[in-house]
Amino acid sequence: MTIGIKKVARPREMSFPESLYLVEIVKGLGVTMGHMLGNIVRQEGIKTIEYPEVRRRMPPRFRGKHRLMKRENGSPRCVACYCCATACPAKCITIVAGESPDPAVEKYPVRFDIDMLRCVFCGMCVEACPCDAIRMDTGWFTPPDDTREKLIFTIDMLLEK
């Protein structure tokens, strides 16, 4: 046997009735009509996911929308160190730090905005965070919305997820 030679199946010659196309076209029309009628009768069999009302189950390690973690007492775990904002390649995190009332914590974020339209979902912010304050485990990507402003997520939106 010759090594390295692989026989590839060639398409067979068309028979005469096939080369007339007409019968084959009618058969094809039958196939498409079958699909259509089947889908009209059994609507639930259609594969389309009615996003955003219906969500698809994402794999557990899917990097999705961000959320900010909370401490036991409900205040944000974030210490406003700017590590995530620095690491972010899309420069879409805006943080304004303020002095924390808690003497054990130095700073806390007064503002923490993520521009979801610019975010590339790379997960750098999560890796950069020294205190595991930001996670991307919500299992969903940015939902559609009708204005750009609604897609800049503020600290309140990020905390409640």
């Binding site: 007409l22 076209i25 094809g28 029309l29 196939v31 498409t32 009509m33 699909h35 259509m36 889908n39 009209i40 259609i46 594969k47 389309t48 009615e50």
Partner: protein
């Protein structure tokens, strides 16, 4: 009502009703195309446009599309020839709608003691008029392609002009058999001629006396309307959107409307020439008359409604066939289209004429 006034009213009413029918069908067809395509491909299709929460299976999408087109910027590219660029959509749309003028929508009716034909104009040149106006559609495409001043439209325009001219020939020749059998080019006479029976069982429809002619005509019509499998002028994979690449806003929607009008008018022509127009199988003026000898008498109004219904049903079916074929067959390669046109369709059309003539000669003897 006096004579001229009556004639004028009738003429305007006919035009208004048939126009409304065709444009209404165009709107519905755009929805049918999207929804049908979706269901054929196991998708759901458009279903989001809603009015006060009513979605109606996406039926409002054509409305939303139309509004969107109306409110878009009417843009003219710098390189375009301003006059021809603006004329092209009109050249596309006008011939498409002109075709309905000779379609008989139903049998003659008597209004106020006068006979009124349900046809805008019963021209004695009949179908030749249709060829003349449908030949003009090629101007729209070529003008659009050339006046856009850009490569892809030009190539698309070039292709479609070659394709339409080639198929025009076989389209004309494929109908020759029909004229020979029904001995007329007048649409109303062709329809009345299809009222009889063939061998006492089959309705004497064009498709039964001219099966080859029917297939050839149908194929040629798809090529004329630039529908898949012959939609080379707008081959997305190689030409972006072909001749209407540079068009936006309402000008683009005029091209779209022209395409769908072609489908509607084409469906009406096929129904009229090959499927008996408004003839209902075995339905005579007084009621049903079955081949076995059984007869059912019907009031004239019921007969009339059945006939109009038959015509509308036939048109709807053939309009749907355009969509159905589009989502079934892939596009031909350009050289294949040309080969099919000149080397297959044309000889077959000539053969059909010859065979029809021979059979008619033998039957006359």
């Amino acid at each position: 009502m006096s004579g001229p006034l009556f004639d004028l009213t009738v003429a305007i009413a006919r035009i208004a009703v048939f126009f409304a029918f065709c444009f209404g069908l165009v709107v519905v067809m755009t929805w049918v195309e999207r929804k049908g395509a979706a269901y054929i491909q196991d998708r759901r299709g458009p279903n989001r446009a809603d009015i006060l929460g009513v979605r109606a299976w996406g039926l409002f999408h054509p409305l939303a599309d139309a509004l969107k087109f109306l409110f878009k910027e009417d843009f003219i590219p710098d390189n375009a020839h301003r006059l021809f660029y603006q004329l092209a959509p009109m050249f596309s749309l006008a011939p498409a709608i002109l075709g309905i003028a000779i379609i008989p929508f139903g049998p003659d009716v008597t209004v106020l003691g006068r006979k009124v034909a349900l046809q805008i104009a019963d021209l004695n040149v009949g179908i030749l008029y249709l060829f003349a106006v449908s030949g003009m559609t090629v101007y729209g495409v070529v003008l659009a392609g050339w006046a856009s001043g850009s490569k892809y439209p030009l190539l698309g325009g070039l292709r479609s002009s070659a394709q339409m001219l080639s198929y025009e020939v076989s389209m004309g020749l494929s109908l020759m058999g029909i004229f020979m059998v029904f001995e007329s080019v007048r649409m109303s006479q062709i329809v009345t001629g299809q009222g009889g029976l063939l061998f006492g069982v089959l309705p004497k429809w064009g498709v039964f006396v001219q099966p080859l002619g029917f297939i050839l005509f149908l194929v040629a019509q798809y090529a004329e309307a630039n529908r898949t499998p012959f939609d080379l002028p707008e081959g997305e994979s190689e030409l972006v959107a072909g001749y209407h690449t540079e068009y936006g806003s309402f000008k683009f929607s005029m091209f779209m409307m022209a395409e769908y009008l072609h489908m509607v008018v084409g469906a009406a022509v096929v129904a009229t020439l090959f499927f008996g127009g408004w003839q209902f199988p075995y339905l005579a003026d007084a009621g049903f008359l079955f081949p076995g000898g059984a007869a059912v008498t019907l009031p004239p109004a019921a007969v009339f409604l059945l006939r109009i219904g038959a015509f509308v049903a036939k048109v709807l079916f053939f309009a749907w066939l355009y969509v159905w074929v589009r989502w079934t067959i892939p596009r031909f390669r350009y050289d294949q289209v040309m080969r099919l046109g000149w080397k297959v369709m044309l000889p077959l059309a000539l053969l059909n004429i010859f065979a029809t003539g021979l059979i008619m000669l033998l039957l006359k003897k």
